[in-house]
Amino acid sequence: MHYVLHYGQIAPYLPYLIGGMAISLALSVLSFIGGMVLGLFFAVIRNEGHPILSRLVRIYVAFFTNTPQLVQIYVIYFGLPDFGILFSPFAAVLIGMTLNAAAYLTEILRAGLGTVHAQELDAAETLGMNRLQTLRHVTLPHLFRVAMPALTNQYILMTLGTSMASIFGVEELTGRAFNINSTTFRSIEIFTTVAVLYVVVTFIATILLALVGRWAFRARVPVL
């Protein structure tokens, strides 16, 4: 082999790649937040909602955790236009990732909800808290505390999962890597650089989430 590494050749593209990283981050952060809101809602329904609603949530979770995410986004991007629903690639990926995240997060949050001591809930009720106050002051803080490691894990997986957006033409980090590759053919340099960028992003996210967990919720997660 006489391949000589030339990282210098892709150095000019670094700002372009970092721009792509911002799009990847936007996808992961937005879908994580959306997934958390939906997942929380579903988890509460699943645990204490009407049996029919609870069953619907179970079906939803089973569907989204047992089909490839790629296929789900395909349906949204290529399938729904047949019914007159059109999305931009970014929107389609964002919606797909959010719905998918909601399913996984429902399960994580539901497991966490199950660990709240019944006595704490009794105490909240006899102190006079209504359901919303109990959720806000007792259940949610406890939930984030115990679920923080699993949530961090899920977020990291989602960050890495954003790379599939390139398939739909979203020019996030991986998509931009393909673009540069097709003009420079410096595959090794490009994709090792991209790998390092993903590591940096997930590394920073892990630390930030651990700090948030520690400070806000007294979660016992090691920062490193």
Partner: protein
Amino acid sequence: MAHLDIRGLVARYNNATVLDGIDLSIERGEIVSLIGPSGSGKSTLLRVISGLLPPREGTVSLAGETINYADRRSLRRSRDKLAIVFQQYNLFGNMNVLRNVMVAPVTIQKRDKKTVEAEARALLDKVGLGDKLTSYPDELSGGQQQRVAIARALCLKPDILLLDEVTSALDPERVGEVLDTVKMLAADNMTLLIVSHEMGFVREVSHRVAFMADGKIQEMGPPAQIFGAPQQPRTQAFVSRILGH
């Protein structure tokens, strides 16, 4: 007028009748203890009174006002006057000691935060935890946690306190400190309904003792009667077994 008046109370879990017609009347400032074998319905009675389990029949009245357990507002009013402390895990694990005590008066009773904080600090001082304000429940011993739980109940300024085996999850050497706190309340003329297995304590602190079995109050009287000269054979059997002679 009785401070807490319970008439013909019936409660069921699913179809099992756990309370089978309880009549109990407690005067203001009176201390009544409930004793009885495991499963006799003592905790259930406290749960029903505090609104965690709706009664199937009968009434509970607080200072003459009958609690309507189906009505949120009636229940809220009763919870302003009546507080309960459980066996364990009373405290909110995500809040420090001071916040545990302050959260209900501030967020539910909407009282002024500064005033509540001053009261909470005073109460925590009183139960001997003035130096633990910023500790979290998992950093406290069981006895300390129970004393915080009592301070939290008191911060709501209840007239009646229900205590359900507040010492039974504690190491023997921690029991005393919690019982001392309860005695302090007794001296403050609080109306207390206590479930306890600490017979020495029950005998010392109670005005009257009720012996429960099979969801009924089988016998009720001053401690001297229940422990010294029980009238019912079941009470005799229970007392002699528990006092170990």
